[in-house]
């Protein structure tokens, strides 16, 4: 299911990249950036950012478009509000997209997002609006999957699509993966030890049983011999009782 979101985006990204390669003038590129950031299904912008055509925008009056694209790739609604002076005004589509991207960023750090934090980040005032936003914009579009817990007022994220990565995030990911590998290696080792332990314990148990049985046999044999030797020394009437004991 995760791959579907990526696949849908792959087509859009290819389309936009082709368009950007074809255009050359700054205002057209700025318009393209506007279109890309308002598109309802596109959440990945690093391909567009790395296009050489867009670096031409830097330094011109349309540099703010480039900053906007960078904001959409890596930033959240909070970043926009703190820098709103230098960035162009956003259309309602873009605001919605930025909110979705902010949810993705929040989902990166914790799995359980309290409603209060979400309301603050997304600039919504009541729970109803927040839930509507989460359900309609985030879950139905497939970028997030999770459970809404109204009693404890939090949103449990089970899956969140990835945002564009900054280079240092790559190092973090590699570290996380190597930790995961280390843990699963040690787990495998422990499982093998447990298997060996189970086998050795059953061996010990069997040996113990066998020893016990041997001793019982020995004791039985010694009693029989004792009775046979005693038979000659007891009264004649008692032979019937000693015969029974031999069972």
């Amino acid at each position: 299911m995760a791959m579907d979101a990526e696949r849908r985006q792959a087509e859009l990204i290819a389309q936009f990249s082709a368009q950007a390669a074809a255009l050359s003038s700054a205002p057209q590129l700025a318009a393209l950036v506007l279109e890309a950031t308002s598109h309802p299904a596109l959440f990945a912008f690093s391909e567009l950012l790395t296009l050489p055509a867009l670096s031409k925008l830097a330094g011109t009056q349309y540099a703010s478009s480039l900053d906007l694209l960078r904001l959409f790739a890596y930033g959240t609604l909070k970043d926009y509000k703190s820098n709103s002076g230098s960035l162009p005004a956003l259309l309602p589509d873009q605001v919605r997209k930025l909110k979705q991207l902010s949810v993705l960023t929040l989902a990166e750090s914790t799995k359980i997002l309290p409603y209060d934090q979400l309301m603050q980040e997304l600039d919504v005032s009541n729970v109803r609006e927040l839930e509507d936003f989460l359900i309609n914009e985030c879950m139905y579009s497939g970028i997030v999957r999770g459970k809404l817990d109204q009693l404890r007022r939090c949103f449990e994220v089970q899956f969140a699509a990835g945002r564009d990565l900054t280079p240092d995030q790559l190092t973090n990911m590699i570290e996380t993966l190597s930790d995961w590998l280390g843990t699963s290696d040690s787990l495998l080792h422990q499982i093998q030890e447990k298997i060996k332990w189970a086998d050795t314990m059953s061996e010990v148990n069997k040996k113990h049983q066998k020893e016990f049985e041997d001793r019982v046999e020995e004791a039985k044999k010694s009693i029989k011999l004792n009775n046979l030797s005693r038979q000659t020394s007891t009264y004649g009437g008692m032979t019937t009782f000693s015969l029974n004991l031999e069972e």
Binding site: E108, T176, L177, W180, L188, S202, R230, G237
Partner: protein, 335 residues
């Protein structure tokens, strides 16, 4: 279309009738496990019957025991299923009688069987035929052509019954027939096709059941525990190797050996975000409760065992030391 005359050179020049590279037909084949089980069962039965009759009467059956001495006899049958557009889905199969002398199929039997299966499964058509062996035989093309009047492009399923422990894939190959121009004349040859295994829920359950065969008496507790742990071990090992591949890929990407693929990076980052997979207070509570319950039950069972053993011991002591007091005379030592 000069079909009979084509059959003659095919028999006399057998070499070109066998396989070539991968097929270009564009058909997608889906195979159900039932077919594989059927074919292998058919083969095993015939092999066992040949071996059994070989033991009882050595001389007469040596002639009739099939192709070559030491080789299990080949079995033949039909595969049936559904064809929707370019997707061919093979559901079931049944056995056929092959006349060993003339090398042709028993047509009447085939028709009868087809009719019977049509009544039970009205959607299924005869899609082709199967056989066993390690490679395509030269006579197979004849049988293939004979079936062409039932289905215009039949499939040929070959099962290799020799057990090869190092082989990872199933020893089943699917061949299609294509008209290729060889040595100036168009000839039908077999070309391999890829296939995927498709299961219905009932098939999945039975295959799962067979894969987890346990010793018939249930084994001791230790063997069951070992079997269970081994299953978990192999599952985790597979996950481990896959994650290792992703890790190496990312490291190479970071060093710059591989061009950066953003879409893949995004997917990996969303995967990494899913860890830890299970982390909430409620899970901890439930998990610890279940853990404590299991420990308690083990403790209780141990207790019950000990008390019953103690009880037996006490009874034995009572029985063995009471006798001297109730018996008149008793043993010499106690008098």
């Amino acid at each position: 279309m000069s079909a009979p005359s084509e059959a003659a050179p095919a028999v006399s020049a057998p070499a070109p009738a066998t396989t070539a590279a991968a097929s270009s037909g564009g058909f997608t084949f889906k195979l159900h496990p039932l077919v594989i089980v059927n074919v292998s069962d058919h083969h095993t039965r015939v092999k066992a019957q040949a071996a059994c009759s070989g033991d009882s009467s050595s001389s007469s059956s040596a002639a009739g025991a099939g192709a070559a001495a030491g080789q299990p006899p080949r079995v033949f049958g039909c595969v049936i299923g559904v064809q929707r557009g370019r997707t061919v889905e093979i559901f079931n199969s049944f056995e056929l009688v092959l006349d060993p002398v003339s090398g042709t199929l028993d047509r009447a039997f085939l028709e009868k069987k087809q009719e019977l299966y049509k009544k039970v499964f009205p959607d299924f058509y005869v899609l082709g035929w199967y056989s066993t062996g390690s490679d395509v035989h030269d006579t197979d093309m004849q049988i293939h052509k004979a079936l062409m009047d039932v289905n215009e492009s039949p499939v040929y399923l070959l099962l290799n019954p020799t057990i090869n422990l190092s082989q990872k894939d199933l020893p089943v190959t699917i061949y299609e027939s294509e008209l290729h121009v060889i040595d100036g004349s168009p000839q039908l040859i077999f070309v391999r096709s890829n296939y995927t295994i498709e299961t219905v829920e009932a098939e999945r359950i039975s295959v799962d059941h067979v894969a987890h065969l346990k010793p018939s008496d249930g084994g001791s507790a230790a063997t069951q525990l070992a079997a269970h742990l081994t299953g978990i071990h192999s599952a985790i090992k597979m996950l481990n190797s896959r994650v290792r591949v992703i890790h190496q890929y990312l490291v190479a990407m970071q060093k710059g050996d591989i061009p950066v693929d953003n879409s893949l990076l995004r997917q990996v980052s969303s995967l990494v975000r899913r860890l830890p997979a299970m982390e909430s207070q409620k899970f901890q509570d439930d998990f610890l409760m279940e853990y404590n319950d299991t420990l308690l039950m083990t403790y209780l069972a141990m207790f019950t065992n000990c008390s019953s053993t103690m009880n037996e011991l006490v009874e034995k002591i009572n029985t063995s030391y009471e006798r001297p007091t109730t018996r008149r005379g008793g043993r010499g030592a106690f008098m």
